[in-house]
């Protein structure tokens, strides 16, 4: 007999073993299944969290009051929040994936379209964070509004992949600014009338019989009036410059004579402070076509400033040179100078050097701002070199022939 036939015992044993293996495998499968269930649960959970986060981001974006627009490297709009839609009047479906530059035009204050390379969002695409605050967005219905915008590049793994711009409708702010400027203009206009009254009365008083003391007080009143006049003129010019419609009407004048007259008017003050003043021009007469009001505002700031901020016994040099199509006026002094940390902002409105208070306790800080505006209106340049406690030199370069500019107001 052969061993082909297993005994019942052996078969039972095989069955038992198979059943064991099956149980083990079943167990293995169940474990894997459980593991998979956990995995699926985690995936579902992650999915829900991502959805939640996305919903949160969208809610955040939607609730931001400012407009947010994101574009990719090709200038296509990939994101636009609710505020942006409302302000621009477009539905996102109409704009997503379209070119930003073709659908949302930007104009400057004069109504001219802003060239692509100058738009803040374009500059952000090449890596420069840019702010713009005198631009206007054109809405879908072709109306426009002034906007303050900040555009930044989006960088992932050190590469620029797009740009985001955040912007705000500043119609209200502009309105307030305009009202403020108008107020200053009206106020300075109104202040003039009683000022004229005082001036005229002082003039008549001079003819009356007064005691010596009386005459002296009268002279002091006249000096005070002059100062008040200057301040009112300053305010008036600032408001006119801010309104931006200054007329430049060039006339032919002898610049040398013009400056000399101003220098002479400071003679008394200069001699009181024992300041030596030299005035040189490389030609005895230099004719220029320039706006008298503008030139006055420039010279009447830098010349008296030199006298004012130079201590007793100092030196002032005024030079006029002609070169090419321009003429250069330089005023150097051995005065208190402008500290390095203040130099960058001296031409800003209301800027005063930190050491100015030593000499002149209160000043409005408007002179240089006005001088710069006036210089630029004439087509020139103004700059300075200065060292604290050593002195300052102001340079004003102006064209011999300034172009006329249409406007409604002139500088007084």
């Amino acid at each position: 007999m052969e061993n082909r036939e297993k005994t019942t015992e052996q078969l039972k044993e095989d069955l038992r073993k198979t059943r064991e293996e099956l149980a083990i495998q079943k167990w293995g499968i169940e474990k894997t299944l459980e593991g998979m269930k956990v995995l699926v649960k985690e995936l579902i959970q992650k999915g829900e969290e991502a959805e939640k986060a996305k919903a949160q981001d969208e809610a955040l974006l939607a609730s931001i009051g400012d407009g947010v627009i994101a574009i990719d490297m090709d200038g296509r709009i990939i994101l636009m929040n609710k505020a942006a839609q409302t302000m621009l009047g477009w539905h996102p479906a109409e704009l997503l994936d379209k070119s930003f530059f073709e659908t949302i035009p930007i104009e400057d204050e004069k109504g001219k379209p802003v060239p692509l390379e100058q738009q803040p969002i374009s500059r952000a695409l090449v890596g420069t964070t840019t702010t713009g605050h005198s631009y206007y967005y054109i809405r879908k219905d072709k109306t426009k509004f002034p906007a303050a915008m900040v555009a930044t590049p989006v960088i992932i793994d050190k590469k620029i992949v797009g740009a985001i711009e955040v912007f705000r409708d500043i119609t209200k702010e502009k309105e307030i600014d305009k009202v403020k400027t108008e107020f200053v203009s009206i106020a300075s206009h109104q202040l003039r009338t009683p000022l004229i009254g005082i001036q005229w009365l002082a003039e008549l008083l001079k003819k009356e019989k007064l005691t010596d003391k009386g005459q002296e007080y009268l002279n002091d009143i006249r000096i005070s009036i002059q100062r008040l006049n200057k301040l009112v003129e300053l305010l008036l010019n600032v408001s006119r410059l801010e309104e931006g419609k200054i007329e430049i009407s060039p006339q032919s004048i002898d610049v040398v004579n013009f400056i000399k007259k101003i220098v002479d008017s400071l003679a008394i003050l200069n001699s009181k402070k024992r300041l030596s003043l030299t005035f040189t021009a490389d030609e005895p007469k230099i004719m220029a076509l320039t706006d008298v009001g503008a030139l006055q505002n420039i010279a009447q700031t830098i010349l008296p400033n030199a006298t004012e901020y130079t201590p007793e016994g100092g030196k002032i040099e005024v030079k006029i040179k002609k070169h090419g199509r321009m003429f250069l006026l330089t005023v150097s002094d051995t005065g208190i100078g402008i500290p390095k940390k203040d130099q960058g902002r001296m031409f800003q409105e209301f800027a005063r050097a930190s050491n100015a208070g030593r000499i002149k306790a209160a000043g409005m800080g408007l002179g240089l701002w006005i001088a710069k505006q006036a210089t630029e209106l004439l087509g020139g340049k103004i700059w300075f070199e200065s060292q604290e406690n050593r002195g300052t030199t102001f340079f004003v370069e102006l064209p011999l022939k300034s172009k006329s500019i249409d406007g409604t107001k002139k500088l007084v």
């Binding site: 003039r192 009683p194 004229i196 009254g197 005229w200 008549l204 107001k409 002139k410």
Partner: protein
């Protein structure tokens, strides 16, 4: 001899007082009005040789007064000099366009200068352009 008559329309009482006194001292006869409507009435009543017209006036703006004076045939030929507070203004251009003969910027002149300007105006009036007597001219 009839004095030269001037109607002065100026709403600021101090400026009006000073101008009035100095012009009277310079031998002019001066009627004063302190707002636009009173100014029109004063000109129609007095038919002066000259109107000195301030611009910012109560009741009627100087430009309106000027326009009305130039529209009516009786007052059309009365010369008007406008008085402004500030020089180099669009006001001056507008005033001249509306028919003002000349302008005076109050803030740029002493009273005496203004009186001189008025005197000069009348001096020029009696020697209209082209007929200035020359030395040796027998006509």
């Amino acid at each position: 001899m009839n004095k030269t008559k001037i109607v002065l329309v100026e709403d600021d009482e101090i400026l009006a007082k000073v101008l009035h006194e100095e012009l009277v001292e310079a031998a002019f006869e001066v009627a004063l009005a302190e707002d636009g409507e009173a100014g029109l009435t004063a000109v129609r009543k007095n038919m002066p040789n000259l109107v000195l017209l301030d611009l910012v006036l109560p009741k009627k703006h100087g430009f309106e007064v000027l326009a009305e004076l130039k529209k009516a045939p009786e007052t059309r030929d009365i010369p008007v000099i406008i008085l402004t507070v500030l020089g180099a203004d669009e006001d001056i251009k507008k005033g001249l366009e509306l028919g003002a003969n000349d302008y005076i910027v109050k803030s740029q002149h002493a009273v005496a200068e203004i009186v001189e300007k008025v005197k000069d105006f009348f001096a020029k009036e009696s020697h209209p352009e082209g007929k200035k007597p020359k030395v040796g001219d027998k006509s």
